[in-house]
């Protein structure tokens, strides 16, 4: 009987499922230990979740850029983290200038919007230029070629910005109006986190509306499915591709300003980890799928925020927060092993409603 079983599943499968079972057991055991120890109160858990949602909405907004570009060109734009960095880093200089004149805290809403405009302008330009000079000439090439170019572009942008703006970590000025917390339905929520969550939900809904309901969005979906047929409808495919990069760049810039509101610190290498995390979120949700990227981002944010204290703490691991990145990338590996098409990813062989 064992022999039959072994025939049906090859050894790698068995080892994989064994690893899965061990991980599941660890997660359950760790969570049980933490919860039964009563070390954290309900309020603390809620804080973790809200912080996770705020962090996750930033991932989600960046992930949209990965997934939009992948949906249309089937390439991973690994320089997208630097698109995110470039806008936020540039807007920093506007922010400190406005802060030095006192305008930043007199008119916080206008100031943040101005910073957003600068960030969007820079990130969008860089995304579009990247497409034009680094990716378009390689459109017919094997898929590995633009991938390598993207990694090269990513380094190029990191070191160019370090050269331009210096290598030190810079700190965004505080927004006095966003200090402290609001009490919403009896729940204390930090103002920055509330603003980030609400703003990104609005942006995601707007983007979804744009892609589903507008003519330009329909053209985007048509190009994603069949470029030649789209051209036969009179759609300028190159322009749609440029629009896609621009849209991804703009949402990355918005994510960047939110990142600056929560974490304050920016430098030339700040795009790397959020970029890879957002890529993880996009894969988690099913790359090429917009709602998937949003869901994947939020999910990753919450898991990353809850995981260390919920699971690792209970297992007696010291300094669990140092391991939150490890949790995020473990998620990526697990998804790639057990559900490569992602949570909402469709099976590419059967495109049905």
């Amino acid at each position: 009987m064992l022999r039959n079983l072994l025939k049906k599943y090859d050894t790698t499968d068995l080892v994989m499922y064994l690893i899965g079972a061990v991980l599941a057991a660890l997660v359950i055991y760790g969570s049980y230990q933490t919860l039964s120890s009563g070390k954290y109160s309900g309020e603390v858990w809620l804080d973790f979740i809200i912080f996770g949602l705020a962090q996750g909405s930033i991932y989600a907004l960046i992930a949209l850029g990965y997934t939009l570009v992948y949906g249309i060109l089937f390439m991973i734009n690994f320089a997208h983290g630097e698109v995110f960095m470039s806008g936020t880093f540039t807007a920093y200089f506007l922010a400190i200038y406005l802060d030095s004149t006192g305008f930043w805290n007199q008119h916080p809403i206008i100031s943040i919007l101005l910073a957003l405009v600068v960030a969007v302008a820079v990130s969008t330009t860089i995304a579009v230029v990247l497409e034009r000079i680094a990716y378009r000439p390689l459109r017919g090439a094997p898929r590995l070629v633009p991938l390598i170019t993207a990694i090269g572009a990513s380094f190029f942008l990191q070191y160019t910005f370090r050269g331009l703006y210096g290598s030190g970590v810079k700190t965004y000025p505080d927004v006095d109006a966003l200090k402290g917390s609001w009490n919403i339905f009896g729940i204390e929520i930090l103002k920055t986190q509330a603003v980030v969550i609400v703003a990104s939900v609005i942006l995601m809904v707007a983007l979804r509306f744009y892609v589903q309901k507008t003519k330009a969005g329909r053209a985007m979906r048509a190009v994603a499915e069949d470029k030649e047929a789209a051209a036969l409808m009179g759609i300028d495919v190159d322009r749609v591709i440029v629009n896609t990069f621009a849209l991804g760049g703009a949402s990355a810039a918005a994510a960047g300003i939110m990142y600056a509101l929560i974490f304050k610190q920016v430098n030339a290498f700040m795009g790397f980890i959020p970029g890879i995390k957002a890529f993880t979120a996009a894969v988690l949700g099913g790359i090429g799928n917009l709602p998937g990227a949003m869901l994947g981002g939020l999910f990753l944010g919450v898991v990353e925020s809850l995981g260390p204290s919920l699971v690792l703490d209970g297992l007696g691991i010291p300094a669990p927060y140092q391991l939150k990145d490890a949790i995020a990338f473990l998620m990526l590996v697990l998804v790639l092993i057990f559900r490569p098409s992602g949570i909402m990813g469709e099976n590419l062989s059967e495109k049905k409603a």
């Binding site: 499915e225 047929a229 051209a231 409808m233 009179g234 049905k352 409603a353």
Partner: protein, 236 residues
């Protein structure tokens, strides 16, 4: 002046010389068919007209204006509309969205609405299924959708690539009846078909294509009676 005129067109796929000097004309109001075996260059001819492939030599003229310099989406704006081989409908868009894609370059909302009604009257099946995604349609329905989508662009000339491919005989009849109807309403059609018998039956004139060259041309009825054509394409 002919509505569409190809003169000595040479097209290549990489190093493969696919069209070796094609010349043909389509007059306003005609159905002209291009018949020939697999790989003769029929689809390549349509792709060259639509600007998907750029010819290395020769010209493609619409009422005297050379189309060669235009890219595919610009050729569409001139009113040269193709129903591609294998239908190529957007499977993840709804039937209605597919039809609206056909009218992508138009902004006359009222007229688009009228044309939508017209397409629905030609293919009532599409109206019933307008909210379904394209991928759930049967082959015949997909051909109707591809045809309707092209009509939404208000073509000056309709290029149809193998509309009978893979369809049950009753659906083939339906599609060809529609082609005749459209022509009676004034539509100019360039029809590519492997089913030479059917094509020559609806067409005014025909061209026979063999390995990238036109070997015979003439009145459709005469071509259908030609012993060479009969032997090669009509099953003796």
């Amino acid at each position: 002046m002919a509505l569409l005129e190809l003169e000595n067109v040479h097209s290549y796929y990489g190093n493969i010389h696919a069209l070796k000097g094609i010349s043909l004309t389509v007059e306003q109001g005609e159905i002209v068919t291009l018949i020939g075996a697999n790989g003769a260059g029929k689809s390549t001819t349509l792709k060259t007209i639509s600007g998907i492939i750029d010819p290395r030599k020769g010209s493609v003229r619409l009422e005297g204006e050379d189309l060669v310099a235009y890219r595919a989406h610009e050729v569409v704006s001139k009113g040269v509309i193709q129903v591609p081989e294998g239908r190529r409908i957007f499977t993840r868009l709804t039937v209605r969205e597919n039809l609206e894609m056909g009218a992508f370059l138009r902004n006359d909302t009222q007229e688009i609405k009228k044309d939508l009604e017209w397409v629905f009257s030609l293919f009532p099946r599409l109206e019933e299924r307008q909210n379904q995604v394209g991928g759930t349609l049967s082959g015949g329905e997909q051909q109707m959708l591809a045809t309707g989508r092209a009509l939404m662009a208000r073509p000056r000339i309709l290029l149809m690539d193998e509309p009978s491919m893979g369809l049950a005989p009753v659906l083939v009849d339906l599609i060809f009846d529609t082609i005749k109807d459209l022509n009676e309403q004034g539509m100019t059609i360039l029809l590519v078909e492997q089913n030479a018998l059917l094509a020559l039956d609806v067409a005014d004139r025909g061209y026979v294509l063999e390995t990238g060259m036109i070997t015979l041309a003439g009145d459709a009825k005469e071509l259908a009676a030609n012993p060479q054509v009969k032997e090669a394409y009509l099953g003796g």
